[in-house]
């Protein structure tokens, strides 16, 4: 029974990813739709990272003692100034680890 459930789950996750890549699907994307979708990357990625930074144990935490918030601020500034992924990762993760060790 578990095996069948797992196969059904696999179908759902694969179909959700593959469906709109299928050429036979009768869907023409107009200029408006393409323009709308051009905002998908900043929208979805932000909707994933912001809760990681601000929510701890199901409650909102925007205090300056929140190491996630401090290190994320460093990340935003570094990324804005340098546009360099590795530099951003390096500086903010260092800050984060130091804060974790102090705290």
């Amino acid at each position: 029974m578990t095996l069948i459930t797992i196969l059904l789950l696999a179908c759902i996750t694969f179909c959700s990813r593959y469906l709109f890549l299928h050429p036979k699907l009768p869907l023409r994307m107009g200029a408006k739709m393409t323009h709308f979708l051009s905002f998908s990357a900043p929208a979805v990625l932000t909707a994933i990272w912001v809760p990681i930074i601000f929510i701890k144990d199901n409650s909102f935490n925007a205090s300056i003692t929140n190491p996630y918030l401090l290190a994320a601020t460093v990340a935003v500034i570094t990324s804005y100034k340098s546009h360099n992924v590795y530099l951003t990762l390096g500086t903010s993760i260092t800050v984060f680890v130091v804060l974790q060790l102090i705290g």
Binding site: T2, T13, M29, V50, I93
Partner: protein, 243 residues
């Protein structure tokens, strides 16, 4: 130039792997958690391996393992999986025009590998254009698949002996990678509005523990960005006419 085709593909494989590396490491605690949770909830080793190998979706795995342990009805399990997976429809739509023209083997393999993480790395206009960039995407997505599978197996084998890695704050690595990918794209007001709206609504929906929140906050944010861009374009036309 001493730069032949084979070398170019090898470089793209390497680049794809390196680009995904931070994310591969960032999901290590979740992979171990998914693997060990499955074993603790009485999945057989085969079932526990098939979850990452076939379902290949962390949030679905975690939620479903708990639901199955609570003997939830099959319909509930499938519906919940559908809701959590619905954000993938957006990814497919975003890449439709580029990928639908490719042969089945590319569509199926990149479709299978189209996780949040691969989507995150494919924001460029040129992503998936040409064989070299497809190789890059395959290396990035493929290495993520192998790592995810390996971390899960690690959890299946050693889960009960390891401390709870999720409390170490490794989720920060995922957040910061996404920050490093989003911030450089914030070059105009509509994208800035998109980011702020998405951040605001995602926190609200997350606090309400709403599985659909991720997709809904994204859609609201995309719509706000889209409206702002249209408004901006209209204002620019007016300005040009006036001058």
């Amino acid at each position: 130039m001493a730069f032949n085709k084979k070398q170019a593909y090898l470089i793209m494989l390497q680049k794809g792997f390196m680009a995904m590396l931070p994310l591969n490491l960032a999901v290590l605690p979740w992979g171990i958690l998914c693997g060990s949770l499955a074993i603790q909830r009485d999945f057989t080793v085969l079932e526990a391996i098939l979850m990452p190998a076939l379902v290949f979706a962390g949030s679905v795995q975690l939620v479903v393992i708990e639901l199955m342990n609570d003997n939830a009805p099959l319909a509930t399990i499938l519906f919940t999986t559908f809701i959590i997976s619905s954000r993938h429809f957006l990814y497919g739509l975003a890449f439709r025009d580029k990928l639908k023209v490719l042969p089945l083997k590319w569509r199926a393999s990149l479709g299978f590998l189209l996780t949040d993480e691969l989507f995150a790395l494919s924001g460029s206009n040129k992503a998936f254009v040409g064989k070299l960039r497809l190789t890059y995407a395959l290396a990035a997505g493929g290495s993520f698949y192998l790592c995810w599978l390996f971390w899960n197996i690690l959890g299946i084998v050693a889960g009960s002996y390891l401390p709870d890695l999720t409390s170490l704050g490794l989720d920060f690595a995922i957040a910061v990678t996404f920050i490093a990918l989003v911030v450089p794209s914030m070059t105009n007001l509509p994208v800035l509005i998109t980011v702020i709206t998405a951040g605001f609504f995602s926190v609200i929906f997350k606090l309400a523990n709403w599985e659909l929140g991720l997709v809904l906050s994204s859609l609201i944010a995309m719509f706000c960005g889209y409206l702002a861009a249209n408004k901006q374009a209209k204002l620019n036309i007016k300005k040009q006419r006036a001058s």
